[in-house]
């Protein structure tokens, strides 16, 4: 079988502080196949953006990559020096961030930014680069793309800017796109348009996408698989339908239930008590145990690992026990 586009194994990232080191990402492992969209969700402080930053090699002190490996199409990239990593970024990994105004250079026209990125990585004549830039802008849905090449970012609206950022991310035909909250700064009508563009571009090119967001609605629209993070750990991962409609981990269940929906009516929303622990106070054992409605005696002592639970993989003693139970029942049925 071919290597997955992205493979992350036992990733650990520390934050050095005056009061000691904290674990921001703790033993995260996942893969993304060609043409697949992995949605990474979690509340603020879950470590999802830091995981994305580690993959594109943009961790800066006090963040430190201390363990595990990251492979892009089978090739290890987490130990690359700054220069080879810079060549990889933009060429093989594209990035889309939340705020399009800060990811574009305000003093450079849109066309020049695209042409500069392409000529840094690809062997293109200026003329070819310009044609290709115009084609890309048309593809991301910028009206009058040819004229827009000479526009500055401030002349464009928020949605247009985010389209330009998408064009930049895709301009060298990367294998992987890291999209960190790409629609959070946008209005809903524009958000729908940007999601549509992202989905179409990935499908056509077979680009793998790691979509980081706190918005479950966006994830539900576009993700093939979903990883749920809590306290720096992946607590559940699986097919999108399974996570959205039949989640196993109590945190995912609580999270899905407490999101108000247009199609459900409650007197009171189901709620998870408390809030995400701070990194300097991650509880022992399972990080979710103080908030968990169905904790077991061992949950505050032993840390659960990802194990099959129904249709997903869940890091939870309860779901592990249930799964074993089902195996026993099934075995008894056969016997």
């Amino acid at each position: 079988m071919a290597d997955p586009v992205l493979s992350v194994r036992n990733l650990r990232i520390e934050i050095a502080t005056r009061r000691g080191t904290l674990l921001a990402v703790d033993d995260a492992s996942f893969e993304i196949a060609e043409g697949e969209v992995l949605g990474v969700v979690g509340e603020s402080g879950a470590g999802k953006s830091i995981t994305g930053g580690a993959i594109i090699g943009l961790l800066e002190p006090p963040l430190r990559h201390v363990g595990g490996e990251i492979r892009l199409a089978g090739r290890r990239i987490d130990d690359l020096a700054a220069e080879p990593m810079r060549l990889l970024r933009g060429r093989h990994i594209g990035a889309v961030f939340q705020d399009p105004l800060t990811s574009l250079n305000p003093l450079m026209t849109v066309g020049r930014q695209l042409m500069q990125t392409m000529s840094a990585h690809l062997d293109l004549s200026p003329r070819e680069a310009r044609t290709r830039a115009a084609r890309l802008l048309a593809e991301v849905g910028l009206p009058a793309a040819q004229e827009r090449l000479d526009s500055y970012p401030h002349e464009l609206s928020g949605g247009m800017r985010q389209r330009v950022v998408l064009a930049l991310a895709f301009c060298c035909e990367p294998q992987l796109i890291i999209a960190d909250e790409p629609t959070t700064a946008l209005d809903v009508s524009v958000q729908a348009q940007v999601i549509e563009v992202l989905r179409r571009m990935c499908r056509e090119r077979g680009t793998a996408v790691m979509l980081i967001t706190h918005d479950m609605g966006v994830i539900a629209e576009i993700a093939d698989r979903i990883a749920v993070m809590y306290g720096g750990r992946i607590v559940e991962i699986g097919r999108a339908e399974a996570i959205l409609h039949a989640p196993a981990h109590p945190y995912t269940r609580g999270l899905m239930a407490c999101i108000p929906s247009m199609h459900r009516r409650y007197r009171d929303l189901p709620q998870i008590e408390g809030s995400m622990p701070r990194l300097d106070a991650i509880p022992s054992g399972c990080a979710f145990h103080p908030r968990c409605p169905s904790r077991l005696p061992r949950c505050d002592r032993e840390r659960p690992v990802l194990a099959p639970a129904g249709a997903t993989q869940s890091a939870c003693w309860l779901t592990a026990a249930c799964d074993q139970m089902q195996d026993i029942v099934a075995a008894a049925g056969h016997a």
């Binding site: 509340e43 603020s44 609206s157 928020g158 949605g159 247009m160 209005d187 809903v188 009508s189 524009v190 958000q191 729908a192 348009q193 999601i195 549509e196 706190h214 918005d215 479950m216 609605g217 966006v218 539900a220 629209e221 999108a240 339908e241 959205l244 609580g254 999270l255 899905m256 407490c258 999101i259 108000p260 929906s261 247009m262 199609h263 459900r264 409650y266 007197r267 009171d268 929303l269 189901p270 709620q271 998870i272 008590e273 809030s275 995400m276």
Partner: protein
């Protein structure tokens, strides 16, 4: 329509325009009057006692400007406001003592609390300002009562805002708003800065307080699912005007105005996974030069020549109101 006598707040023809500031050289050279931002144009609405009215719309549609006009932070360009059966615009600057009964909760719980004050002092300020309670020990008892009411501990009064999480801070700002014994709360995106699990806690708290204290809410939100959960009535705004309003269930389940339908189509919802219909084109135009006629006509799939010329007036559709030529025509025929 609602029974007039039961309305706690009634706004008629509220308009707010801002002059655009330009460098004086540019202003002198242009030889034209200053351009105006038409933030809110001729908005009328009534909010019944003990109910929640939600304003929805995309950024720049004027929903926060309405909230700020009602709260007295901004002075409206035109319009009248009746609060608890009294005209609160009549006094200069709108500084009417009745405004004590009208408080506001802001979006960002990090920016809306003074970082150098202890929580107790933050909550005590309205009590002291309005001389609601006198005597140190009685004020302290009241602070403890308010903190318990919003789900915090009385000891929290001695801490500073930075010692709390975002959700707890929003609880503190709710306690501060409740300190002046209000009847009406303006909640401007109260949960937009919070994580979803915390959002549910705050929304539940708001509903509990409403039932317990008989509060009326004006809820400003861009999150339609939050609005569906909280609101009794909904008003949809586009470029400074109300385009559709009515009972929440009617507006959200049977939207009439093409813009309302577009908004509802665009909302990604966890409950439904689907290939969406062709997403709507375009973005909200500038409110300095709003389009002629119906401001939505350049993006509207039902637009006709008339929509670019004439501004549609609201017509009653069922129990709600809709300002759209196409809807009006279909109602008449």
């Amino acid at each position: 329509m609602l029974d007039r006598g039961a309305d706690i707040l009634c706004i008629q023809g509220l308009t707010k325009r801002f002059a655009v500031r330009r460098p004086w050289v540019m202003q002198a050279l242009s030889r034209q009057p200053r351009p105006m931002v038409h933030a809110v144009e001729d908005v009328s609405l009534a909010i019944g006692r003990g109910t929640t009215f939600a304003l929805v719309g995309e950024s720049g549609c004027g929903k926060s400007t309405i909230a700020r006009c009602i709260a007295g932070i901004l002075t409206p360009t035109a319009g009248t406001m009746t609060f608890m059966a009294a005209d609160i615009m009549a006094r200069t600057g709108g500084r009417d003592p009745r405004r004590r009964h009208l408080q506001m909760i802001f979006q960002d719980p990090y920016a809306s609390l003074n970082p150098r004050w202890r929580v107790g002092r933050i909550i005590a300020e309205p009590i002291v300002t309005h001389r609601l309670i006198s005597g140190r020990s009685r004020i302290e008892a009241r602070i403890a009562e308010l903190l318990t009411l919003v789900g915090l501990a009385p000891q929290d009064a001695r801490k500073y805002p930075h010692q709390f999480s975002g959700g707890q801070r929003q609880r503190i700002s709710i306690a501060r708003a409740l300190a002046s014994e209000p009847d009406f709360l303006i909640c401007d995106e109260p949960t937009s800065a919070l994580d979803v699990s915390v959002q549910a806690q705050i929304l539940n708290l708001m509903r509990r307080l409403q039932a317990k204290l008989g509060l009326s809410y004006l809820l400003i939100s861009h999150n339609l699912a939050v609005v569906a959960h909280m609101a009794d009535r909904v008003g949809v705004m586009y470029l400074g005007r109300l385009v559709e309003w009515g009972a929440a269930q009617d507006v959200l389940e049977r939207p009439q105005h093409p813009y309302t339908r577009m908004l509802l189509d665009a909302v990604p919802d966890v409950g439904t996974r689907r290939e969406r219909p062709q997403p709507f084109k375009g973005e909200v135009p500038s409110s300095i030069n709003p389009p002629s006629g119906c401001a939505f006509h350049p993006r509207c799939p039902l637009a006709e020549a008339r929509c670019a010329r004439e501004r549609p007036h609201p017509v009653a559709v069922g129990a709600g109101w809709v300002a759209c030529h196409a809807v009006e025509k279909s109602v008449l025929s």
